[in-house]
Each structure stands twice: as C-alpha cells, then as structure tokens.
C-alpha cells in the first residue's frame, strides 16, 4: 500500500490533506498591533483531547506566555497561548531566537516608521521553509515564479505535477545515495559511482515513467512490473511493510542492470533495500504532517498594503498548509497607516503663523500708503 503513496502518489496525500483540513491540526495565530506600539499575540489550537500534540509549529511554552484550556465540546478543547508585548521591539526579539531544528522557524518583525503626518506600521512575518525534501533544490525543477505561485496557493494541476517531480527527484536522490554507497563499497570496475552517475537521470526517468515537465509520473510498483520480466504477472513488488519484496528486488535489479549496463547491480540488494528505507523515511518526514495555519494580524489604522488573501477592515489573514512551506519561506506582509492628529494640529498652527507673517506686512504697508496719501 505504501508504494502507492510514493513518487507520484506523494502529492495525492498532500491534496487529500488540503481538501480535508478537518483531519489536520489547525493552528490559529493572531497578532494584534496597537497604535501605542504594544502588541498581543495569541496562538490557538483546536484539539480532540487535553493533550498537547506533536506539531511542527513552535508552540510557546515559555513561562511568559499565558496558557489556557477551554472545553469547546464533548471531547474537544481549545488550547490558547497568549502574550502581551509592551513594544514592537519586544515581539520582534521574541521571534529572533534560534528555533528548534525540528520546528518551523518563525520570524516576525514589526517596524514603526514616523512620517510626521502619519505613522506607518510594517508587519512582516515569515514561516521558514520546512521540508524533509532537501536533497534537490526546487529550482532544479521549478522556476522562481512557479515556486512563488505554488507557495501562495496556486492549485494548477500542471504545477502540482511539477512539484510532484521535485518530490520524486528528492526521494530518488535519497535512494540513489545508498545505491551509490553500495557500488563504492563493492569496488566493481564495471559499476563505479562515476559509471552510475552517467545513467542516473535515465534511471530516474525509467523508474517514474517520466515523459516531460508537468506530465504525470507513474507508480514505481507498476513500472517495475511492466519494465521487467514480471510484465503481465500479478507479482507484488513491495511487501505490506513498505520494503521491496523478493520479486520487487529481482525486477529492480533486472532494470538497473540494463540501465547501468552492469550485472554487478544484483549484488546491491542490501543497498537497494536500505535506499528504499531512506526514501520511505524521507517521504514520511515530508508532506503535510504539520497541519494548517490561519495567521492573522490586526494592524492599527488603515491597511495600505498586504499580500493577504483575506482582508476584513484592518485585519489581514492568510491560510496555508505545511505543504506550502516546502519550497520556500511563506512571507506575510501588511502595512498600515495611523493619522497623527496632533501633527495635523501643529502643522495647521505653523502654516497659519507663516501665512500671517507673510500677509500682515503687506496689509500694514498698504494701510500706511493709504494714510500717507490721505495726509497729502
């Protein structure tokens, strides 16, 4: 069963996760910025039990945060973390600390810029890239624009498939590394890491049925069967625990020997199994296990700019899942403006005074001229 999720199937899991958000742990994060510079941040989790779950989101267990549990249903609870920050620097400092390597790195910066008539508040929060697929750079498969679009929620099937290819290439890389190590330790003159590298891409394309960018990838289970002497049979390529079956190893070795042009591949059965285990491990670390996020910010004054998808008055919010953090950081921006009424009053006084100083001498001179004319 697990093989169905591999390569092409991996993204199906992500999709299922997206379309069934109820199954995922949803994190609601709300930041309120006040005009006096103070802030409040609340992190809320809807839970099925009164236990804090394992999540990729860095929950604030610091004593400076207030933690509360509220029963919201028969067996549902709301866990809330709240903290008030006295100024903008304090909240920025809070998220400047080094993050736990197993958690999403949050970066939050709020800057206040005084511009006499108005004061501007720039809110920038980013959820750092969080993925197990780190062996292949996304740019190897996707353009920067495509990465941007996928990160900010583009659901185009073609783009999804391109991302799927990137995932598949990562999984293949994890697998291939073990295979390469095996070949190195084998010291066979016909199967060296260099000779394997020459056929690495060809082998990948064969394993996933790659036909070009944006095209659907195939399940290795069917590929192994179809490309080997097992074609037409119902032989299982993988066992129920996700490891290669004997038939699967035979089929794999057969295809690999043909591709790498060396029968020495048959001696790499342990490496193949280890590679597959590494692949499965990587795949389990990826995907959408981290859940989904609803991040909102309430800014003081009028909202001028934001990349949020939902804006209600001076509140901007973003909804995304951990799958959107796989390719790059997810950055959320909002800029607001507060009118400095006192600055308007002071300016009005200054302008009136200056106008007075400019106009009154003219009035005085004209009066004097008038009186002199009268005296004559």
């Amino acid at each position: 069963m697990i093989t169905k999720r591999l390569f092409a199937g991996t993204l199906v899991t992500c999709l299922l996760a997206l379309w069934a958000p109820g199954c995922l742990l949803e994190h609601k994060v709300k930041t309120t910025i006040n005009a006096d510079g103070s802030c409040e941040r609340t992190v809320t989790l809807d839970l099925g039990s009164k236990e804090i779950p394992e999540t990729s989101f860095p929950l604030p267990f610091d004593a400076s945060w207030d933690t509360s549990w509220t029963k919201s249903g028969v067996s549902t609870y709301i866990l809330t973390f709240t903290k008030r920050f006295k100024d903008l620097e304090e909240i920025s400092r809070e998220y400047a600390r080094p993050a736990d390597s197993g958690k999403i790195k949050l970066d939050l910066r709020v800057r206040e810029t005084f511009r006499w008539f108005y004061t501007y508040y720039d809110y920038v929060e980013s959820y750092g890239r969080f993925t197990a697929y780190t062996l292949v750079d996304p740019h190897a498969v996707l353009t920067e624009e495509e990465i941007q679009r996928l990160t900010y929620g583009d659901t185009s099937q073609t783009l999804k498939r391109k991302k799927e290819e990137w995932v598949a290439r990562n999984l293949y890389e994890a697998f291939y590394l073990r295979l390469e190590q095996g070949a190195e330790s084998l010291r066979d003159t016909l199967l060296t890491p260099a000779s394997m590298a020459a056929h690495k891409e060809e082998f990948f394309r064969l394993l996933v049925g790659y036909t070009g960018p944006g095209n659907e990838l195939h399940d290795p289970d069917s590929i192994l069967r179809e490309e080997s002497s097992y074609r037409g049979t119902k032989a299982k390529m993988f066992s129920s625990d996700g490891r290669f079956s004997d038939d699967g190893l035979n089929a794999f070795s057969e295809i690999a020997a043909r591709t790498f042009k060396s029968e020495a591949v048959w001696k790499l059965r342990d490496s193949v199994q280890a590679g597959w285990t590494a692949l499965v491990k990587m795949m389990e670390g990826g995907g959408t296990a981290g859940g989904s996020f609803t991040n909102s910010v309430v800014v003081p004054g009028i909202l001028l700019e934001t990349n949020a998808t939902d804006v209600q008055g001076s509140s901007a919010s973003w909804k995304f899942g951990t799958d959107q953090l796989e390719l790059r950081d997810f950055e959320m921006r909002a800029t607001s403006r507060v009118v400095n009424e006192w600055a308007f009053a002071v300016t009005a006084v200054i302008v009136l005074a200056l106008l007075g100083l400019l106009i009154l001498p003219l009035v005085r001179n004209s009066r004097r001229s008038l009186s002199m004319t009268r005296n004559l």
Partner: protein, 251 residues
Amino acid sequence: MKCRQAQDLIYLYRPGELTEARRLELGDHLASCIACAAEWKAALELEERVSDLRNIEPRLDDAALLTSAILGNVAASNRQPTGSLLALPAWTVSPAFRIAACVALFVVCGSFFLQTAIDANRVVRLEGQLKLLGASQSATGPLGIQRAGFLLPNTERIGTLADSLGIVITDFRKWHHESALSATLRTLLGRPGQTGMTTMDYLAKKHPRLASIRIDDGIDNREREILASEGEAFLKDVESLIRKGGVLHDH
C-alpha cells in the same frame, strides 16, 4: 484815457515802463479820477510790503533741535502701530524671511499632499488586488465550476480540462463577473479572434441552451438536465477548440 485802460497800466506806472506820452496821459487820468488814484495808491502799498519782505534774512537759532525734530517726525511716521495685529518684528519683512517662509509652506503642504497621494494609490491598489482575488475566488473560475457541481457524466470536469490537456492557466485573476462558462472558455481559449466571432459566440451558436446557464448562482434541475444532455458534446467541442487553438483555427 478811460478807467479800464488806466487800471491795466497802473502797475506799470513807474519810470522806464511806459512811453512818455502814455505816462503823461495816465498821470492826467490819475489826477482827475479818484477811483483810479485809490487803486494806484493800493498798488504802491503792496509793492512797498513786498520790498520789505525781500529785506528779511532767514535765521537758524538751533540747528540740532531742528534736525532732531525732523528725524522724530520721520520715525513717528515709520513706527509700528502698537497693540494691534499689525505689530510685527522688523525681521518679518526681510526678503530672506519671506523666501524661507514660502519654501517652508511649500515643503509642508507638498509633503502632505505627496504622502497622502502615495497612500491613496496604495489603498486603491490593495482594493483592486482584493477585488481581483475575490473575483477569482468566486464561483466563476474552474474551481467554482467544480464547486457548483459541473461534473458531467463520463467526462472530465471542465475546470480541469486545461490541465488535462497540459495547458497552464497562468492568470486566474482574469475571471470577472461574467457568465461562468464564458469566463472559463475565455481563459481556456484566450481572447476572441480578429474575425469578430468570439469563442463563446461560436459555442453559443452550437449549444445555445448550455451557454445560457449561469452556474455561479447554483444549478437548478432544469440546468442539470441541459448539462446532462448536451454537456458531453460541449466538452468535446471545447477540447477540439483548445487543441486547434481557438475559433480562428476552426475557421
């Protein structure tokens, strides 16, 4: 000599002014006419007074006092009127101050208007961005079509048609509030050709009942029936048009 002529010549009755004959004639008249004689006497008195004035010489007893008095008067005429709004310090009339004040006013007003205009532009852009986002999220795009239940029997969803044919729809924001089918087709097939016949016109001509369906407000039973009966043929047409690149190629 008559009186009128005599009175004209009275002020010239002195040596060297008149001819001898006229002088004698005037003398005879003055001796005989009392009125003209009185007039001549008055003229003589006035002449005496004027010659007295000519003899008076100007005298300045205290020059400093006079100067001070003049300057005092000048200063008094220049003095600020005290106790009124017109009382201003002297520097306010200096050109340097007036230029500086004008520059300050220009900078203050200019920066206010510039700042406000830039912000207004940002707000307009944000509103536009949200409007487009709202339009793309409304039920007029492929996702909306899917949500509305445009799932035809034994066919693919129209919304995924482009994907199934390997076409990348790059701009989801192109969908505005028009007929959902029209918007989708416009996105799938691009802008209308130069022939004047739009893709929607083309399809509406072939499937008029289908083209009349608005699915962004949900689908009723009648519309479902139309979709079921004509949907598949319609999708085949769309697919064929996509492959050919639009109405133009079909021509």
